[in-house]
Amino acid sequence: MYEHDVIVVGAGGAGLRAAIAAHEAGADVAMVSKLHPVRSHTGAAEGGINAALREGDDWELHAYDTMKGSDYLADAPAVETLTQNSPEETINLEHWGMPFSREDDGRVSQRPFGGLSFPRTTYAGAETGHHLLHVMYEQVVKRGIQVYDEWYVMDLVTTDEPDPNDRECHGVVGYDVQSGKIEGFKAHDGVILATGGPGQAFDHTTNAVSCTGDGHAMAYRAGAPLEDMEFIQFHPTSLPSTGVLISEGVRGEGGILYNNEGERFMFEHGYANNDGELASRDVVARAELTEVNEGRGVNDEYVHLDMRHLGEERIMDRLENILHLAEDFEGVDGLIEPMPVKPGQHYAMGGIEVDEHGQTCVDGLYAAGECACVSVHGGNRLGGNALPELIVFGKRAGRHAAGDDLGEPEIKTGYGDDVEDETDTELPVAPGKAGLDTTGSVAADGGVTAEADGILERSVEAAREHVDSLIEKEDGVQHAEIRAKLQRAMTDYVNVFRTGDGIRKALKIIRECRQEYQNVYVDDPSRTFNTDLQQTIETRNLIDVAETIALGALVRNEFRGAHWRQENQTRDDENWLKHTLISWDDGEPSIFYRPVILDGENKTYEPKERSY
């Protein structure tokens, strides 16, 4: 057994920032990560970090843009915390040596970005995330913070009181990928989940293969609700074969989208007569898919993004990286051919419900980064707002877990008096425990009276038995088959376009996946670096997460932000200015709602129509 004050699960931007903050607050902190820290997906971010740094800009403007961008589904206290703290946190990165792009006077550069009323996106070339990740890892090395890398966290160790608000988290169960050893990690003061996004729930995503929603699923099963999971951002220009992202910069510079008939469809088919290719992400994504669905897609799958007319000089000057991406990942030379693109899953606005301190309703359990929902992005995230979220809320979670007093949070968590239960929607399949018995529940037995050590020991024992049974089982279904089916269902039915019927179909298939998962087995008998085993455990997590995305999408019968419903194509403020919460109620998802907080420090953010 390993013991530390604070245990951070995940070592991307959010995890690294949390660990540094907890360390600075005096805690003995350790990071446990399934990848070496520099391999985390934060490294893929390109665009930049939003921070109101310059004269003419201020946090209130940034907050306003963010609330509007969210389609009024973000909580004002969270948004204001983000925008008030991101300038200091961004400059702090500079102080740690981050190689930001520079102006003539030597100050950090900022550039305009979609949905921002001021050019406040601070960047380091087109590799902002790479630098942010490395700079923070350097600081972790400098401080000598312990990192258990290539340790996969399988379970949280939590007491099992009936009401999650009474539960307490004592640590995690980890699995050493290299040796196969399973051990308990005891956390005296807190566990911080910073496990990133769940992009692998979809079969076409800009996310890394490691983005399997592990933290989401573990927190969910421990009793912390998942919030606003239906809000998934789809980026209109990802490469069809891999999902690698082609930056919005191409369209910004004048790149044009064509269908298979050579038509500039954004205009010719009237999707956005004013803004054309530069309409907002969701509008362009919907237009592309409509073209494909109506038979005007290239190879029935994608559309063309053409930048040849920009000329070699301009392309080399501003979009060089895009040429490499198209060449390396699609085998296409962007100077002489148009590039194939289609919408890809990109970002999850929802996640583990937390307050402004990163705390969930389970005592001692925190979440930060893309796996968490504070909520700052609501129905739609603005580009450049995820990276500041990592550093601002990562730091706060780290400090709070280490015992710093951050005051009383305004955002509530867990089931309480202020929520409303879901009563209307009929589910296509009875949710239940199908497929779950094989892995047991995360909340260890023992309840209040049990000692932390005892609960930890039992959890480790259960995890060992679970792994043994997966490896010893001689045949059955392989995870890859289930995963592919799940991803396909999500992409077919819970994608950019959503209909009630489609979502119901998806839920049925997800349920089938659960059933099949009961018969899952691991073919590779080895304990050494068994990725077959790891992916099998991840697949279970994807099933749980996919189900919450689909359930959220089914009950939210309105059109807000990235969530488009055919049956109801208007935003319904009267009924839907509220967060969707799904909690794991003894093996059954139960759904409830909590009102959005639109009251900020000095003003109330009145919902207005967003015009495209």
């Binding site: 520099v38 490294g43 200091e88 030597g106 070339g125 600081q139 293969v209 990942f329 073919d523 080895s526």
Partner: protein
């Protein structure tokens, strides 16, 4: 843990046609693949064909895999297919025990550096259509093999840590929102060095590193360059950095063979950076070996 050294000898061995004949059960599992051994640089020629990959296999724990071998897979080709796509396909469709590191699929996480047709490359950044078939995929040479294509990276990380890879300017501007000033030129100067993704390809390609376990190696020296040349750190720290670099197993070991520069997937001019640091050390009158 018992490990196996992927020495050049063992990589040469399977070139023997006799040994190639020993196709693995995994390869037999798939039918009607239409095995074509062709050399191609034109993707359209491969359309509708399968690609023949030979993948290094080794697992210290599994009896059948304790003796290193190559397994053959025939993977349906798709336009734009990378080496990583091919091994993922082989794993998901034919043999789920096939093991390798990978994550981002876009050349930023640095986890899938392999030895492909005799050269260190990122699997995700290498187009299958550009390679001669059969495509031989092996773990990085000069590193201990943990299993299949996975090598032990600890030594690489240790060397990276040796150069104190973190910014060390304590004298920061007053006021929380005041940044340090850095000229555009200086940022340009360090830019390439900051692109390193810790993939380990350079270290694996370096003959000197192969013979001298203590040699800092190209990646770590480049990391030190990144800080030593950053004007935001002051002179004293720069001198401290140069002292680390000019030690016996530092920059002077480099024999400018350019193999690191050749394989770096981020096009970092590693050899040039090492040379520049040698010149700096001379200028500073630091002793050299």
């Amino acid at each position: 843990m018992s490990t196996q050294q992927a020495e050049p000898e063992s990589q040469e061995a399977p070139k023997d046609p006799e040994m190639q004949g020993a196709e693995s059960p995994a390869a037999e599992k798939q039918k009607g693949g239409g095995m074509v051994d062709q050399t191609s640089t034109d993707a359209s020629e491969l359309e509708g064909e399968t690609v023949h990959i030979k993948v290094f296999r080794y697992d210290p724990e599994v009896e059948a895999k304790q003796e290193p071998r190559f397994d053959d897979f025939h993977v349906p080709f798709e336009k734009g297919m990378t080496v990583l796509d091919a091994v993922m396909y082989a794993r998901d469709e034919y043999d789920s025990s096939l093991t390798f590191r990978h994550s981002c699929r876009q050349a930023v996480c640095g986890s899938d550096a392999f030895f492909v047709n005799g050269k260190q490359r990122l699997g995700c950044k290498t187009q299958i259509a550009d390679l001669e078939q059969p495509v031989r995929i092996e773990p990085l040479p000069h590193q201990e093999v943990v299993k299949d294509l996975v090598v032990d990276m600890d030594h690489f990380y240790d060397q990276m840590h040796t150069v104190e890879p973190y910014f060390q300017q304590e004298d920061l501007p007053d006021g929380e929102l005041e940044e340090q000033r850095q000229s555009r030129e200086n940022r340009e100067k360090v830019k390439m060095s900051t692109r390193c993704i810790w993939c380990g390809a350079c270290m694996s390609s370096c003959n000197i590193a192969a013979g001298d376990n203590e040699y800092l190696g190209p990646a770590a020296i480049n990391k030190a360059y990144r800080f030593a040349m950053d004007e935001r750190e002051d002179e004293e720290i720069k001198e401290h950095r140069l002292r680390i670099l000019e030690q016996e197993h530092g920059v002077w070991r480099c024999q400018t063979q350019f193999s690191c520069t050749e394989v770096c997937p981020k096009d970092i001019p590693l050899t040039e950076h090492i040379q520049e640091l040698k010149r700096e050390a001379v200028k500073k009158n630091l002793k050299f070996w």
